[in-house]
Symmetry: C2
């Protein structure tokens, strides 16, 4: 028996984008636990996008996930980004110890997930199966509304939740802080002019980038650069839609 191998975490997520998988990668990297980013292995070792489609097509039997990311942890196969983080949090020392704190941490994560879904739909308002080019006019309208109404509302909420504290929940770093950093980094990439009146969140993001394990990760090849295949996309015509 190869015990170490069994205890490893396996992440299943698309290999060419940060996407929703990045929230899981950041937690595993901060905790410095060994994990396999399965689809980023060579195809000869079972990697590539085929690893994801095989999982979605039922290779693993009953517990079919609806969509990646999926984490294989011990005997469990867990889908849904927020749920993966909620389950990993206590194991990795990235969740508050008390119930009220854990609930608040997950509440923030779920609201981050809502924001991420709206960021995606800003460039794909009609259908995920259509090219961006086939829904560009609608994307411009939706992005204008997103940048004027929705994003400021989300940022006000997160600023209020952070308040004057160093971290989002309680007095220690949690997965909600890592996820908040990721969202801010994505927004900064996609909409360079959009983050306003959120100085405390920006400072939080900077604190996260200074964590030694996160700094090492961000400087490594494991961190996939933002690109226009992911959730956060830099389309200048959309960034300008707010005017």
């Amino acid at each position: 028996m190869n015990r170490r191998r069994e205890e490893e975490y396996e992440l299943y997520y698309w290999p060419e984008i940060q996407g929703r998988g990045e929230f899981i990668r950041l937690a595993l990297e901060e905790a410095a636990v060994p994990y396999v980013d399965v689809a980023r292995l060579p195809e000869s070792e079972g990697g590539g996008a085929g690893a994801i489609t095989r999982l979605l097509n039922g290779e693993r039997g009953n517990s079919l996930p609806f969509a990646p990311p999926v984490l294989h942890a011990g005997a469990m196969w867990i889908a849904q980004t927020s749920l993966i983080l909620e389950t990993l949090g206590p194991r990795l020392g990235l969740a508050p110890a008390d119930e009220a704190g854990r609930v608040m941490c997950q509440q923030l994560q779920l609201t981050i997930a809502d924001l991420v879904a709206e960021v995606h739909d800003a460039h794909h308002p009609i259908a995920p199966s259509l090219y961006y080019e086939d829904q560009k006019d609608e994307a411009r309208r939706r992005t204008a509304s997103f940048l004027k109404e929705r994003l400021p509302k989300f940022l006000r909420y997160f600023e209020g939740a952070l308040g004057d504290k160093e971290w989002m929940v309680g007095s220690v770093l949690s997965y909600a802080d890592l996820s908040m950093f990721q969202v801010l980094a994505g927004l900064e990439y996609a909409f360079p002019h959009a983050i306003r009146d959120a100085a405390r969140l920006v400072a939080l993001g900077e604190r996260v980038t200074k964590r030694p394990n996160i700094a090492a990760y961000l400087g490594s090849k494991r961190r996939i650069p933002f690109n226009t295949k992911g959730i956060f996309r830099r389309y200048p015509e959309l960034d300008l839609a707010r005017r």
Copy 2:
């Protein structure tokens, strides 16, 4: 001290629609625990939509929710539908006892939440702040894609998760079953021709309606009828978009 009063649950949700609040109402009704549906009280008793806006505007201090539903349970204020159910589940006897079961139950609930968000955006693809009439053409395109591609994918996933079992997770009813029923009822209202190849889910929904407490609730005035202000809306021109 009025101990009973303190132990009651208070639900904060818009008083004129089922919406996301309905998932919480169904769990509380099935468990037959006393709860106050705050915004459905008369305004003279602190109810009405004003109860929600006061909460969102910060009357309760730091733990501002981003959006309703919000559940006040003991000392906790919990937002996010899935998280409310996850927290209530074990207390109401509506969640599996083992960790793998609890994780699966929440995974299903989060995927139901994703489906619900897509149902909403089918009639509001451009902006929640615009009237339906101002995004009707886009709604027709998005609904066509939703009914042809997305909904069948969700239904296949849920059918697979249910399999030949009586309930979605393990061998007893959980909040995932109540939520699945609610989604099927909403789809049946909004898109009467859309549910196909989901006979096992439909049978599950019927089993839920036969639970004595659910049957009593559905026959009561507490159950708000579906209407075209909620998430599930019957717009015949959208139902026909699939053709």
